[in-house]
């Protein structure tokens, strides 16, 4: 079994290195194909492992070699394949294989073709390390690795200022979160004495609640960074600067879900500290609606999808926070499929509209791009959670969880968000594929993407449709290690009301979306319409002014402070004082060298003066010595 494990893990690395060989040379198909094939291999071996775990329930655990060992610290390169990680492995390998194949077509004309695949496979490798590692340090390796790769891929078109800026923003924001994670790791080490999952979690029940709370908080800060939870969310939307396959793979399916994975992975910790869990859940709920609201008005299809990702992550955190770890994981998996699909569809559209992103400039594309339309529509349906598609099973489950755990506020928030979700998803679907063909005004000549790209997307489509039916099997499997709580509203009445109600609500929203955005008189907004003048619109389109806020309150001050530190403190104070001392000596010399006037009689005067000075001192001392008694008397008289 180790063999499969290592293949699953290292095949992507090999692919990446292979592509990297061609890094400098002009684009060659081979640099794209070989990594894709290797990913296929990785996918197969992951499947084998999945089957094994599914059937036998055994887990594979290997320790490759020592990494760091000093003092009491011992960190190996250890990898584990258990129910949780195998899920992630499946998701990662599957989606990335699809994306690779898709990208061969998508990046066809890009001169950075080879570089792209090197980065992409490298990303998959680090993601695999992240999910397969059996200790926190290994996790951190993957954690930083995916950060690096996403930096490289967001900034893939490095000649674009916005792209590179977004890349750095993403990296630095993740770094902020990583610091939290690092501290969490330190806490775990100094309290449990190991960084191995099993050891650490085994030791945790013995620890004091506040220690655990701190650990939980710091680890979650790490998770917030990767999963772009508020307030560290701004980078995700900007990350859409990267090529669309990247968005599909990294910023929808895999990397951003790492945070959820972390929380699920440390469920034993979080189940000890429910209050932190509740906080996570609340934050999740907030982010869900917060992101959805921004998605309502945005005029950039990729950003809309990004926000929806954000909001779906919120759902997952609600589930995880409320202790329904397997639900979170399940939604993670389902979401990965349809969200990737959605992104790839958006990619096709972009291709067709040569990188135009404003849906208002499209419309009626359905005629030219049937395949894409079908896929995106189905994906949106799934996302909206209509029976019997994947979204229904995973998402509504989360609602039920909230209900059963009696967190009605969270429940209602999520419910409302479900409506919003449906609305904005179909808003863009409508704007893109239906209604008047506005793109003609802008002289675009859309065309459907390559066949094989569509074919590549089809597995995702398939899964997006049927994933829901795996629910029970999955439950059986994953609850080997996750707390097995069935979430069922036992009162059938309420259950049905809930379900039907939700469905109706969602459908209504969809209907409204179509009604508004399919109407003939949709114009490209020019900032004149009443809605655009409204405060709410401004607030939303500007992402609640949070990016401006960050720019004003962190970025600018930091830059100014740095300049100040350099020009003022470092040069004017620290350095100047050092030079000042030296200068002082030199100046003293310059000023006193006049003493050496070179005139003989001055010299003689100096000698005599010196002698006289000494003499007077001597006399004073002598007198003092002689009359010491009297002096004492006088001093005592003075009361000294």
């Amino acid at each position: 079994m180790e063999l499969f494990l290592y293949t699953a893990l290292f095949a992507p690395l090999v692919g990446s290195l292979f592509a990297a060989l061609f890094g400098a040379s002009p684009r060659t198909k081979i640099a794209g194909i070989v990594p894709s094939i290797l990913l296929g291999v990785s996918l197969i071996s992951s499947t084998v492992l999945l089957v094994l775990v599914l059937i036998t329930g055994h887990t594979v655990h290997v320790e490759m070699m020592t990494w760091m060992a000093t003092g009491d610290l011992y960190i190996p390169f250890g990898f584990i394949v258990d129910q949780v990680s195998v899920t992630m492995m499946m998701v990662v390998t599957l989606v990335s294989t699809v994306v690779h194949v898709y990208a061969i077509g998508y990046m066809n004309h890009d001169k950075g073709f080879n570089r792209f695949f090197a980065w992409l496979s490298a990303f998959v490798f680090s993601m695999m390390v992240l999910v397969m590692s059996d200790n926190f340090a290994g996790l951190f390796i993957g954690w930083e690795g995916v950060g690096l790769c996403s930096w490289g891929l967001i900034g893939f078109w490095y000649h674009k200022e916005s792209a590179t800026w977004a890349a750095n923003e993403a990296f630095i924001m993740n770094r902020i979160a990583d610091l939290g994670m690092l501290i969490g790791i330190f806490l775990i080490y100094w309290n449990t004495g190991t960084l191995q999952y099993d050891g650490a979690f085994a030791a945790m029940p013995a620890l004091t609640p506040e220690t655990l709370t701190w650990i939980g908080i710091f680890l979650f800060i790490g998770a917030m960074g990767k999963s772009a939870q508020f307030p560290l969310h701004t980078w995700l939307a900007d990350a859409m600067e990267g090529p669309t396959p990247v968005s599909a793979l990294i910023h929808a399916a895999t990397m951003v879900t790492a945070g959820v994975y972390l929380v699920v992975r440390s469920n034993e910790l979080y189940s000890l500290i429910p209050h932190v869990g509740l906080f996570i859940a609340s934050l999740g709920a907030f982010v869900a609606i917060f992101a959805a609201s921004m998605a309502l008005v945005n005029r950039d299809i990729k950003r809309v999808i990004a926000y929806s990702t954000l909001s779906q992550l919120g759902y997952m955190f609600v589930a995880a926070g409320l202790g329904a770890y397997w639900v979170a994981l399940f939604h993670l998996m389902a979401h990965a499929f349809f969200k990737a699909l959605l992104f790839l569809g958006a990619g096709n559209v972009m291709h067709a509209m040569d990188s135009e992103l404003d849906p208002f400039k499209m419309g009626g594309l359905g005629k030219t791009m049937k395949g894409t339309m079908i896929m995106m529509t189905l994906a949106s349906v799934a996302l909206a959670g209509i029976y019997p598609l994947a979204g229904f099973f995973s998402k509504d489950l989360i609602l039920e969880v909230a209900m059963i755990e009696h967190h009605y506020i969270i429940y209602s928030v999520l419910l409302f968000t479900a409506g919003l979700t449906a609305f904005y998803s179909f808003r863009i679907v409508a704007l893109i594929f239906h209604g008047e063909e506005r793109y003609k005004l802008f002289g675009f000549h859309p065309h459907e993407a390559y066949k094989f790209m569509l074919v590549a997307m089809s597995p995702l489509l398939f899964l997006a449709v049927i994933a829901g039916s795996f629910k029970m099997t999955y439950f059986e499997m994953v609850t080997y290690i996750l707390p097995a709580t069935e979430y069922h509203v036992h009162n059938p009445a309420i259950y049905w009301i809930m379900t039907i109600g939700t469905q109706i609500f969602v459908i209504i929203s969809i209907y409204y979306a179509y009604k508004i955005y399919m109407s003939r008189d949709i114009k490209v907004p020019d900032g004149t319409s009443k809605m655009e003048k409204s405060f709410a619109y401004k607030l939303l389109i500007n992402q609640y002014y949070i990016p401006y806020f960050y720019e004003e309150c962190f970025v600018k001050p930091y830059r100014e402070l740095s300049t100040l530190c350099w020009t003022k403190i470092d040069q004017k104070i620290v350095d100047a004082s050092v030079d000042g001392i030296a200068k002082a000596f030199y100046a003293t010399g310059e000023n006193t060298r006049a003493m050496q006037s070179g005139n003989l009689s001055t010299m003689l005067k100096w000698m005599v003066a010196g002698t006289v000075a000494l003499l007077s001192l001597a006399v004073v001392f002598g007198l003092a010595a002689r009359y010491s008694g009297e002096i004492k008397v006088i001093l005592s008289g003075l009361g000294v």
């Binding site: 060298r593 050496q596 006037s597 070179g598 005139n599 003989l600 009689s601 003689l604 005067k605 005599v608």
Partner: protein, 101 residues
Amino acid sequence: MEIGLNHYLVLSTILFSIGLVGVMRRKNLLMLFFATEILLNSVNISFAAISHYYGDLTGQMFAFFVIAIAASEVAVGLGLLIVWHKKHNSIDLDTMSMMRG
């Protein structure tokens, strides 16, 4: 009153001070040498007086040595002075300040 040791000492101190003042004030090299002579001889007086007071000859020996040394100093000094005068035909101190700082 008859003259005691202290009077001699006071006298020599006064002479010494005069010598010092001369050394400081005089700008003429020759006068400067005279002043130094005064210094040494003032000391001689008190040496003689003290040795008489203690009644041993050491002091007077010292005085003799001082005289001898004074003489040789004058010899060297005048030599230098003459050379200087040849070169600059002046023996004013202020002419000699080529080196300074």
